[in-house]
């Protein structure tokens, strides 16, 4: 059933989130806030080398230390191979097992080797120093282009490049090659009057969630385990733990703690399998947390990238051909988001001829994990910089040039599918009309624009709605609330029931209390889990109508549901939710509504950003003066949290563009594994971030929802770089645009001009 925009009473308002008071008073329990009687503390020994063969591990001295109750190494992890279906993309269990605890080789600085559980954190840390590990240090390679060279040090002797027929004989660091696109780019380039070609690079950056990974695990002698942990999906934690440890899913109950930020980085396992093994060996609960240094060194950043982009256009501004090669760093094991980068980077454009080649390349860095629209920010940085340069070469307004070539309904996306109704042109139009775009700039100030796209995902969600005896409603769903989703679930249910949102209490169930749910990620929760909650609520309304019919002794067809009550023509007074609930026992028992779906029709999100900067020519410092993000949300269920996703994505994008990067020493050790020198934006670095929410409804969702969580991080890298160009005339083709780099570029530009 779809709901007319005009008649909505709850959806679109800004209620206080139901879990809010606990969060502002410190009651909310995050991963590390849970403890159990008799609990031990677990700590992990990590490799000091970027690449080495493990020749031996002697844990005897550590085991002998008083207070140490268990020690595990990679050998304890059941040899697991094949792949686990983690909902979104298959994860190679064999690689995951080797990433959780190294087996025969350590592949990056910080790679986990062994773990200790002891009666105190202090003893656990002391015991780590007593583990003797023999290393045969090997040469390492960090840079993605270096790693692709034939003579580069090889990480995996048994890796042969996929996507090349016949399969190559010699092993390589290139895990996979892929090509997407259509048409004939050579023909297209031949027709172009102007062609711009650029090489651009980005550094590894981390999701930067403020909560380090944390969990408590306990397993009883009959093999039944319980895990409390902060994650983006308790079901993926359950599935990966059970498969890595050869346990049955029903024996691994994962209870979701509140999650202190994830952005894609908490959709896999690091500590949970180790805590379970330590608990099994010690027969006691084990708490494990990571220090900030461990989070940086050993949990997935997103890929550094090396990209070539070439775009040609005719004098009148039509793009005739576009091609790109994306070389993405995967870290120690294959799995960079280069596929998504290939598919998303040109998506804002209506192209005839496009060819994109992607390489997934392993290097001696931590295994890459998803980071908000994985791959798209890197790809968009390259494409949107070249588009900006092309517009200038054709002396066209950058927004007009993007609108002329903009993707719209009927456009064939680079990955081949034809777009249904999308909001790209609406965003570009709103950009052109926005006062920000028409405002004046001062000396050494510049303005940049950039477009962004993300697919948004549907996937599996299950929801149960229970009508309580007093007519209040309990919504049970399976997605950790990372940005206010409890509020949107309660709002959507309240709209269907026609009751006040305070009458609906959402609860996030553990893996034993509800069927499988895909992760909170892929911008899917408000869309897919929202759809399940709406369908479950509608199912409950049908039950309520049947009960009302029974109470009134009328046909159910004569009962209508309106404003939280059943109405029928022959009765003056309606039967409210509370009236019906009170009689539930007599009319058939407790009233529930259920839905379990694989949500289809996730609507893609388009977005356009405007960024103004001022550059200090004497120090190379860049200040963000003003920022406006314009994005199609289909329908904003809770506008404050839609705006919050946009503002947060912009802040992460600005950090990525200006100051964030993994800095490695020559021996492959991370030099800045902390918030002091891994410089994320602080409050005084940013202005207010203005947001414009465009609503081009997605017909596949009852309220028209499109995912909003990931698209906002896609444009800022290019928007900032284009603004810096506009300010000081220097094209920065490598991120981050740190002050030393920008000052050197300004000097070079000045020298060349003289």
């Amino acid at each position: 059933m779809t709901y007319e925009d005009g008649k909505l009473k709850v959806v679109g308002t800004r209620p206080i989130r139901p879990d809010g008071v606990d969060k502002v008073t410190g009651r909310a329990n995050f991963g590390a806030d849970h403890s159990m009687p008799g609990m031990l503390w677990g700590r992990i020994l990590r490799s000091p080398h970027a690449h080495a063969r493990i020749t031996g591990i002697d844990v005897s001295k550590a085991e002998a230390l008083p207070g140490v109750k268990a020690v595990v190494t990679g050998a304890d992890m059941a040899e697991s191979s094949g792949s686990a279906d983690a909902g979104e993309s298959a994860i190679n269990l064999r690689d995951l097992s080797r990433n959780v605890l190294a087996h025969d080789k350590v592949l990056y600085d910080g790679h986990a080797i062994a773990a200790i559980a002891a009666t105190s954190d202090k003893i656990a840390r002391e015991a780590l120093k007593l583990i003797d590990v023999g290393y045969e240090v090997l040469p390492h390679v960090m840079d993605v282009d270096e790693a692709m060279k034939p003579d580069a040090p090889l990480l995996h002797d048994d890796m042969f490049t996929e996507g090349i027929e016949p399969t190559p004989e010699t092993s390589s660091n290139i895990a996979k090659k892929m090509v997407i696109g259509f048409g004939d780019v050579d023909d297209g380039f031949a027709k172009a009057d102007v062609i711009i070609e650029r090489t651009l690079k980005t550094a590894p950056v981390h999701q930067g969630y403020i909560e380090p990974h944390a969990c408590v695990a306990t397993i009883s002698e009959d093999g039944q385990a319980v895990v409390w942990c902060s994650s983006q999906g308790q079901f993926v934690i359950r599935d990966l733990c059970s498969q890595l440890l050869g346990m049955e899913a029903a024996d691994v109950r994962v209870i979701p703690a509140e999650i202190g930020g994830g952005f894609g980085g908490k959709t896999t396992v690091y500590l949970e399998p180790v805590a379970l093994m330590l608990s099994q060996k010690s027969s006691r609960p084990v708490k494990m947390t990571m220090t900030r240094g461990e989070v940086f060194r050993a949990t997935g950043p997103t890929s550094a990238s090396s990209m070539d982009v070439k775009i040609g256009a005719t004098r009148d501004g039509r793009i005739t051909a576009a091609s790109a090669e994306f070389r993405f760093q995967a870290g120690a094991f294959p799995g960079s988001p280069v596929g998504a980068a290939c598919m998303a980077s040109f998506a804002p454009y209506d192209l005839e001829n496009v060819s994109i080649t992607g390489y997934d390349v392993v290097t001696n860095g931590p295994k890459v994990a998803a980071y908000r629209a994985p791959g798209a920010p890197q790809g968009a940085y390259a494409v949107e910089t070249v588009v900006d340069e092309l517009a200038e070469a054709l002396n066209m307004d950058p927004v007009d040039f993007r609108a002329l070539n903009g993707a719209r309904e009927g456009t064939k996306a680079p990955y081949g599918a034809t777009f249904k109704v999308v909001g790209n042109l609406e965003c570009l139009e709103a950009t052109k009309d926005h006062p920000h775009y028409k405002s004046n700039l001062g000396p050494d100030q510049g303005r940049g624009v950039a477009s962004g796209f993300w697919f948004n995902i549907g996937g599996q969600s299950a929801a149960t709605v229970a009508i309580n005896p007093d007519g209040t409603v309990s919504v049970v769903e399976g997605n950790p609330d990372i940005g206010g989703s409890r509020a949107s679930m309660a709002m959507m249910a309240a709209e269907v029931f026609g009751v006040a949102v305070e009458k609906v209490r959402p609860m996030i169930a553990d893996t034993a209390s509800i069927a499988h749910n895909d992760v909170t990620g892929g911008s899917r929760v408000t869309f897919a889990t929202g759809m399940a909650v709406v369908q479950a609520s509608e199912d409950a309304v049908e039950q309520l109508k049947k009960r009302a019919a029974k109470m009134w002794d009328v046909e159910v067809e004569d009962v209508v549901w309106q404003d939280g009550a059943a109405h029928t023509a022959t009765k003056d007074a309606p039967l409210t939710l509370a009236d019906i609930a009170a009689q539930a026992g007599r009319t058939g028992g407790p009233i529930t509504g259920n839905a379990s779906i694989n949500a289809r029709g996730a609507g893609p999100a388009f977005t356009t950003h405007i960024c103004d900067v001022e550059v200090d020519r004497e120090t190379g410092a860049v200040e963000i003066l003003r920022y406006t993000a314009i994005q199609d949300a289909g329908k904003a269920i809770h506008p404050s949290f839609v705006e919050g996703q946009m503002q947060g994505g912009v802040a992460q994008g600005v950090g990525w563009a200006l100051n964030e990067e993994y800095i490695y020493s020559t021996d492959g050790n991370m030099e800045n594994p902390g918030f002091l020198d891994y410089r994320m934006p602080v409050a005084s670095d940013l202005p207010m971030i203005d947001t414009v929410v465009i609503e081009v409804p997605n017909p596949s969702h009852p309220f028209g929802v499109r995912g909003v969580g990931e698209a906002p991080i896609v444009p800022p890298l290019a928007a900032v770089a284009n603004a810096v160009y506009d300010a000081v005339g220097v094209r920065m083709t490598e991120l981050p645009i740190s002050p030393p780099r920008l000052l050197a570029a300004i000097d070079a530009y000045k020298a060349a001009a003289e």
């Binding site: 004497e618 120090t619 410092a621 918030f675 002091l676 020198d677 030393p740 000052l743």
Partner: protein
């Protein structure tokens, strides 16, 4: 690790002098605790100085100031007379870390942690501050630029502690300023720091000037040539450029995760010029 919190300087000195194994002094703790948690230091004894009045008070005598080594940077900012007389030192103190850090970090700690990039040290050097140090051998005064000998190392003898930092009295038309460069607007360690302190004569020209630089050498530097470049001038562009050039020339920086050699040399000059202009303007308005 043993924790002690003595009430007098003498008690502190005897604790430190008598300690076997490694001992560490605790003032604000904003550097020490980071090193403690990371296992960078594993002291057997920590002596907390915050219950000793001499180290936690600010006193004025004859136009000069005695600042207790453990006085927090936040308290410096709230001391009206000190802020008026030494705006440069106070702004250096109020740049360290965040509000949370400044509530506890101290001049003594910032100095004795001996980081080349410490924010308050260039300003103290420019101010010609002197440290009052007490140890088993009694009390002695040490110019602030002679405390730090190398990254992480000081000239203090075992059992010696810095009790106070003493700022000299100065003619009325004097002022100072401190600037640092960091990639963000807050929370970073200085890539370059420059402190300038100067005095004007009757005719508005500079009669005395000193420049201190941070993060451009193994220790903070007193750059006398840069100070000299300002003396006798009215801080016109030529004088400021000369001071900047002298500052850059004195640099002996390294490439690290915060900046390159060329960058630090260049920006040392830029900041010295800007800080000198601010100090001159402040002195002129006195």
């Amino acid at each position: 690790m043993e924790y002690q919190s003595p009430g007098t300087v003498e008690e502190a000195v005897s604790l430190l002098a008598g300690a076997s194994g490694t001992s560490k002094v605790l003032a604000g703790g904003t550097d020490l605790l980071v090193q403690l948690r990371s296992g960078f230091v594993e002291p057997d004894l920590v002596v907390d100085l915050k219950r000793i009045d001499a180290l936690t008070s600010i006193t004025e005598d004859a136009g000069g100031f005695r600042i207790g080594a453990a006085v927090s940077c936040a308290e410096l900012g709230e001391h009206a007379a000190l802020s008026a007389a030494w705006p440069g030192i106070v702004e250096a103190a109020r740049l360290i870390g965040s509000e949370q850090i400044q509530s506890r970090s101290s001049l003594g700690g910032n100095l004795c942690n001996a980081s080349p990039a410490a924010d308050t040290v260039p300003a103290l050097i420019a101010a010609r501050a002197v440290c009052s140090v007490v140890g088993p051998g009694g009390q002695r005064d040490i110019p602030v630029e002679d405390i730090v000998t190398a990254p992480g190392e000081t000239s203090l003898q075992p059992g010696e502690i810095v009790v106070s930092l003493n700022l000299p009295a100065r003619p009325s038309r004097s002022a100072d300023a401190y600037l640092r460069f960091i990639p963000r607007t807050e929370m970073d360690i200085a890539v370059v720091g420059s402190g300038v302190s100067l005095t004007l004569s009757e005719d508005g020209t500079v009669s005395d000037a000193h420049v201190g630089l941070g993060a451009v050498a193994p220790t903070a530097l007193l750059v006398s040539e840069a100070g000299q470049a300002l003396v006798g001038t009215s801080c016109d562009d030529a004088a400021l450029d000369a001071a900047a050039a002298a500052a850059s020339a004195a640099c002996d920086p390294i490439d690290d995760k915060r900046g390159t050699v060329e960058y630090r040399v260049r920006v040392a000059g830029v900041l010295t010029k800007r800080a000198a202009a601010i100090a001159y303007q402040r002195a002129g308005s006195r």
